[in-house]
């Protein structure tokens, strides 16, 4: 069948491919993504709130460490912790119930029993208990989200077979971001991937000499807020001007003509003492902004390395 042999589309296809693209298209496309990101944005506010509720538990713990004079005093007597505190995977399990796969690796801070005092054991146990509770609460909460969803799925005409074709992943993982004689920086993340993907991130930074939570002020000095803000704004400006796929609320390349629905509410202006961070392998703080907080969702968690001067 050579019916199209007498029609040669080459020239026509070239004309199609060379069609003039308006210079405004790129901005219009981003504007549309912004609008839909906005909808997701509002939904995820709830998740952020849940995350901060969980963060409150962590804060309680920090208070208990800070007020535990026994802990602080004992640890400050110890010059080197490299061999005393170790992070290992405490509880690790995988299980599959129907179509829900759960993978959990929970970090555990172990204290060397021969050279460390009893109070250090107690404190490590406290940290471990907080992490354990954070993970357990998350798993329980997500399980009830899945149950609710399954119920409404079946009530609205879905069959159990269709439900079982879905795969749901639930996981908790951690990474040791930095560890030396004195500091420990631990990153814990948990996610659920089913009808939507949500992830909660937690960062634990400790100074084991003082026995306190490590702050940006400890690392960058008294002017830490200005140092961090200046570096972050520079990095954002550089990214939006050099990478056409990069977007941040309120920051746009020169000549941007689209609108920005979150410029007023979500433009990055300053870090606070609640801003999350961890230490990278070089010991520099990496400041982290949750997904949706300063940029559209597709940009994910935004991380900025702040170099110590």
């Amino acid at each position: 069948m050579n019916e199209n042999k007498d029609i040669n589309f080459d020239k026509s296809r070239d004309a199609y491919n060379n069609m003039a693209i308006p210079s405004t298209l790129d901005d219009k496309v981003k504007e549309a993504i912004n609008m839909s990101a906005g909808k997701k944005h509002t939904n995820n506010r709830i998740i952020i709130t849940v995350a901060s509720a969980a963060a409150a538990i962590v804060v309680l713990f920090i208070v208990s460490v800070n007020t535990s004079t026994a802990f602080a005093a004992t640890l400050s007597d110890i010059p080197v912790i490299g061999n005393i505190v170790k992070v290992v995977t405490g509880r690790s399990f995988s299980e599959k119930n129907d179509n829900v796969t759960i993978n959990v690796d929970i970090p555990q801070i172990n204290v060397d029993s021969t050279s460390a005092p009893d109070t250090a054991h107690v404190t490590a146990e406290q940290v471990n208990a907080v992490i354990q509770k954070t993970v357990d609460d998350y798993m329980q909460e997500q399980q009830s989200v899945i149950d609710d969803y399954k119920k409404s799925f079946l009530e609205t005409g879905g069959t159990i077979d269709e439900w079982n074709q879905r795969t749901i992943d639930l996981a908790a993982r951690y990474e040791v971001k930095y560890q030396d004689d004195r500091y420990l920086s631990l990153y814990l993340y948990m996610y659920m991937s089913a009808f939507a993907f949500t992830q909660d991130n937690y960062y634990y930074n400790y100074d084991f000499v003082t026995g306190r939570e490590l702050t940006l002020k400890d690392i960058l000095g008294d002017d830490y807020i200005n140092i961090a803000n200046q570096s972050i704004i520079e990095q954002i400006t550089e990214q939006v001007n050099s990478d056409s796929n990069a977007m941040y609320w309120g920051y746009h390349p020169a000549g941007y003509s689209g609108t920005d629905p979150f410029e007023d509410t979500d433009k990055f202006t300053t870090i606070t003492d609640d801003t999350s961070f961890y230490l990278n392998a070089d010991g520099n703080p990496v400041i982290c902004f949750p997904k949706y907080s300063i940029a559209p969702g597709y940009m994910g968690v935004r991380e900025f390395v702040i170099k110590r001067s």
Binding site: S12, A15, E31, F197, S244
Partner: protein
């Protein structure tokens, strides 16, 4: 990267394709950009209807083609008695007209046939993919493709005679 984020990446990387396809229906740059915007919003809101990321192009093009066709249908209803004159002269005046005669003919095909030519010939999708996008059996896609070729051939002959 989750499905939503992958979809955004796909959109950012393929926006020119979307524009060209939409243009072939609405035939002016403002409306084509509106159609692309509406398609993106609709796609991202309904991201859960995308079963696997491997099918993203077929899925996205289906929404795009529907949006484009709906757009022309809506505008035809608003001006029902003047369709012909509007599409022949006034409506296209001042807008980009393809230099290529064959492409002009493609743009004046009935929607069903136009879809097949744009996707199969210009965007170089397989007839199977075209059938999936138009939600028609593959045999129907093939029939429409040959019907479109016949109409284009007649059109080209008319053009040559006029010269």
């Amino acid at each position: 990267m989750n499905k939503y984020d992958k979809c955004v990446q796909y959109i950012l990387n393929n926006q020119n394709h979307f524009y060209r396809i939409a243009y072939c229906y609405v035939k002016n740059e403002h409306d084509a950009q509106d159609v692309v915007q509406n398609t993106i919003i609709k796609a991202l809101e309904n991201i859960n209807s995308l079963r696997s990321i491997g099918a993203i192009r077929t899925w996205f093009y289906r929404i795009l083609v529907n949006e484009s066709v709906n757009f022309i249908n809506r505008n035809m209803k608003e001006i029902p008695y003047e369709q012909q004159s509007i599409f022949d002269t006034e409506y296209t005046t001042g807008f980009y007209q393809p230099d290529d005669e064959l492409m002009q003919l493609v743009l004046s095909l009935p929607n069903d046939m136009r879809t097949i030519i744009i996707l199969h010939v210009y965007e170089q999708l397989t007839l199977k993919e075209c059938a999936a996008i138009a939600r028609i059996p593959q045999s129907t896609a093939k029939t429409r493709y040959y019907a479109a070729l016949r109409q284009l051939r007649t059109g080209m002959e008319d053009c040559n005679e006029r010269k």
